[in-house]
């Protein structure tokens, strides 16, 4: 039995060596939580993968696994890539964090990159984008454009990233109109076009005239288009689905990061880090400002430029919903406070699920 095992191991090692010799210099592998056809989160990550292929040609080989549910399957999928000779593995969902760390321990020579988490190791880096920067800008636009003074927010799950997005949106809006109102609806899904559309309708029916979303489908914007209302895209440019309704869209562009990190693996300079970049580095991109008057476009562009110059939307004065002060005037919240945010700013018409 033992010798059989040995023979098998040897055969695998041989096979692995054989394939490495005539294949590309680096193999980059990606694990997605949704189907690449969701036109949202996983779709954008796959666009990043395709950009890597295009940039490096034969030098880099890529592979991906889609629709890998968080849970027991995740660890197996990540481990498969580690065994199959991937040099760098991108795991693109928060729930993959502990499986990634676990597998990384057994494969010290493989580099791992986990999106949206907080645990790192010698061979595990984390990366995320400052989406809240874009949300501040669209908050400003919403407050300028809304006649009702009320915006609707379709939220997925009360995780810090979503909460900080709602707060950034509100802070942006309040910078224009201190009395601005935001109505929040939690749909408890990242992706259910029907439910998202219903939520958009409910928000419009309750008096919002602009909506924004932290869910993945284009359905809410389509509702806005039909009703002659306005909204903002999410993850990708959704202008094709709502040519008259979309003001702009907060695009996740993973391509620069993926290309940069794969290049470092090629050069042998890869090191673990925690990357959290935004508009300045092009990891978050604003889609063209459309359906807007000139002065609002100017304002949005000015804010975008200010953020790119290093200004942080979460700069005081910030008051929490319960009236306590989160940041004094001119004080900037530290990264940890933003990444772990579990409170609303004052003025939001909702109670945070605890």
């Amino acid at each position: 039995m033992k010798s059989l095992l040995k023979a098998t191991v040897a055969a695998i090692a041989f096979a692995a060596a054989g394939s490495a010799a005539n294949a590309a210099d680096v193999k980059a592998c990606f694990v997605y939580v949704g189907p690449v056809g969701d036109f949202g989160w996983s779709y954008q990550h796959d666009q990043g993968r395709l950009a890597v292929e295009e940039k490096f040609g034969d030098k880099v080989e890529t592979a991906y696994l889609e629709s890998v549910p968080e849970g027991p399957d995740a660890e197996r999928a990540i481990e498969r890539f580690a065994r199959e000779g991937c040099d760098i593995i991108f795991t693109t969902s928060f729930g993959y964090m502990n499986p990634t760390i676990k597998v990384a321990k057994d494969f010290p020579d493989v580099k791992f990159e986990h999106a949206t988490g907080y645990k790192t190791a010698e061979n595990v880096a984390t990366y995320n984008s400052k989406f809240h920067q874009g949300r501040y800008i669209i908050g400003q636009i919403a407050a300028k454009q809304s006649e009702a003074g009320v915006a609707g927010y379709i939220a997925s799950f009360p995780i810090p990233e979503v909460v900080s997005g709602i707060n950034a949106f509100m802070l942006g809006a309040q910078s224009v109109n201190p009395d601005f109102k935001v109505k929040v609806v939690w749909v408890n899904t990242w992706f259910d076009p029907g439910k998202e559309a219903d939520a958009a309708k409910a928000l419009f029916d309750q008096g919002a005239d602009i909506i924004t979303q932290h869910t993945d489908s284009t359905a809410p914007l389509q509702v806005a288009q039909e009703r002659g209302m306005k909204g903002f895209g999410q993850a990708s440019d959704m202008i094709a689905f709502a040519p008259d309704a979309q003001y702009t869209s907060i695009i996740d562009d993973w391509a620069p990061y993926y290309i940069h990190r794969v290049q470092e693996v090629l050069d042998g300079t890869w090191e673990s880090h925690s990357s959290w970049e935004g508009l300045a580095e092009g990891h978050v991109v604003m889609a063209p400002y459309t359906n807007l008057p000139e002065d609002v476009v100017e304002m949005a562009k000015a804010t975008e430029a200010k953020i790119k110059d290093g200004w942080e939307p979460f700069t005081g004065p910030i008051t929490k919903q319960d009236g306590t002060v989160a940041a004094e005037d001119g004080v900037r919240l530290d990264d940890g406070a933003i990444l772990g945010m579990n409170w609303y700013v004052q003025g939001i018409d909702d109670q945070l699920p605890q």
Partner: protein, 363 residues
């Protein structure tokens, strides 16, 4: 030409073994055509899909790990289905079992003793059983259709898990991310020393064997089968269909709950908003493919797990989309179900028109 089924006098022993083989061959043939149409080398793809996972230790272990919860849940479901109790909510029982079992390591993380793990497993079984007893109780008391109630409770269970993991059971050191704290070593289900095969597999095989004995050699097994085939005859023999419903649901819920806590404790080491890739539903298919027989279920669970692991294999090696993998799984099931007909029936092709009286020309 017409296709006619002619019932065999006895079910064909040859076909019992031959029908799955025919089904796999037909699947391979169809899958090969699909691969070829997608511009891939069908032989390479088929090899990657069905054979490659068997040739390497790690992929074989992965397959066994994936098969374990499927087999355990399906064993319980078999008892339900044999006795005419249509529990299709095992997914929810799996989740609630995991929740009950996780109470100790999440709420009392300091309690680390040799008792921790056994207590967790027992709690998991109790949780799954309680959740399963809801549809059973509604069925016996109010005559409510158990297919629907057990299914509805799946959604409720996963929302309950979601609520706990995002709220009260959230890891206090986890920056408000939706996950529980990580279980201590005392709360982690170990592997068989020297291998990476989990204790869960051993427990599962043990339970499957015990269940085989119960079903074939004991009065309880007789009662289950009689009540499934003919409840009237059973009631003459003094069996109570209500008590049996409660028993079957309770047992299958307990096994699903055990599977849940073993996956969480052995593989994930924490609770997350999703803890099952649909094990509870896939197990229904495993139960039928295994012909509601624990030994058959072990084989069926392995084959289905193989199709998942193999599907991932072709996806990663050849860039085949995971949609093709699920199409092939669907086809495999269809062919197996279709070929099983051959066990009980012979197929006769005849050109004879059926008597006109047996037909209705309009509906």
């Amino acid at each position: 030409m017409r296709i006619e089924l002619v019932k065999r006098k006895e079910h064909s022993e040859v076909m019992v073994f031959l029908s799955p083989v025919i089904a796999v061959l037909l699947t391979a043939l169809t899958a090969g055509i699909i691969f070829a149409l997608s511009g891939l080398n069908p032989f390479e793809a088929l090899y990657k899909f069905f054979i490659d996972p068997l040739t390497q230790t790690w992929s074989l272990e992965d397959t066994i790990a994936a098969a374990t919860p499927l087999v355990l849940i399906a064993c319980g479901l078999a008892v339900c289905y044999l006795s005419n109790n249509w529990n299709i909510g095992a997914e929810g029982q799996f989740v609630v079992g995991a929740l009950f079992g996780s109470f100790l390591p999440v709420m009392l993380p300091g309690f680390e003793s040799f008792l921790t793990l056994p207590l967790m497993l027992v709690c998991g079984m109790i949780g799954g059983a309680l959740w399963a007893l809801i549809p059973a109780f509604l069925k016996t008391r109010f005559n409510t259709n158990e297919i629907l109630t057990s299914l509805m409770l799946v959604y409720v269970a996963s929302l309950l898990l979601d609520y706990l993991v995002r709220g009260p059971w959230r890891d206090p050191d986890g920056f408000n991310f939706p996950e529980s704290r990580i279980f201590s070593d005392a709360a982690t289900l170990p592997s068989i020393p020297g291998t990476s095969i989990s204790m869960a597999t051993v427990i599962t095989i043990g339970i499957a064997l015990v269940l085989t004995v119960i079903l074939t050699k004991t009065l309880k097994g007789f009662e289950i089968r009689v009540m499934g085939q003919s409840p009237r005859a059973g009631s003459f023999a003094g069996f109570s269909s209500k008590r049996l419903s409660l028993f079957a649901f309770g047992l299958s819920g307990a096994l699903a709950g055990l599977a849940g806590i073993m996956v969480v404790s052995g593989e994930m080491n924490q609770l997350q908003p999703t803890i099952s890739p649909g094990y509870g539903f896939t197990a229904i298919i495993v139960a039928f493919l295994g012909r509601l027989n624990p030994v058959g279920i072990i084989v069926a669970g392995f084959v289905l797990a193989l199709s998942y692991i193999g599907g991932e294999g072709v996806q990663s090696a050849m860039g085949v989309s995971d949609k093709i993998a699920s199409v092939i799984q669907g086809l495999l099931l269809f062919f197996v179900l279709a070929c099983d007909t051959l066990i009980l029936y012979r197929i006769r092709f005849s050109s004879r028109r059926a008597p006109a009286s047996a037909e209705v020309s309009h509906v």
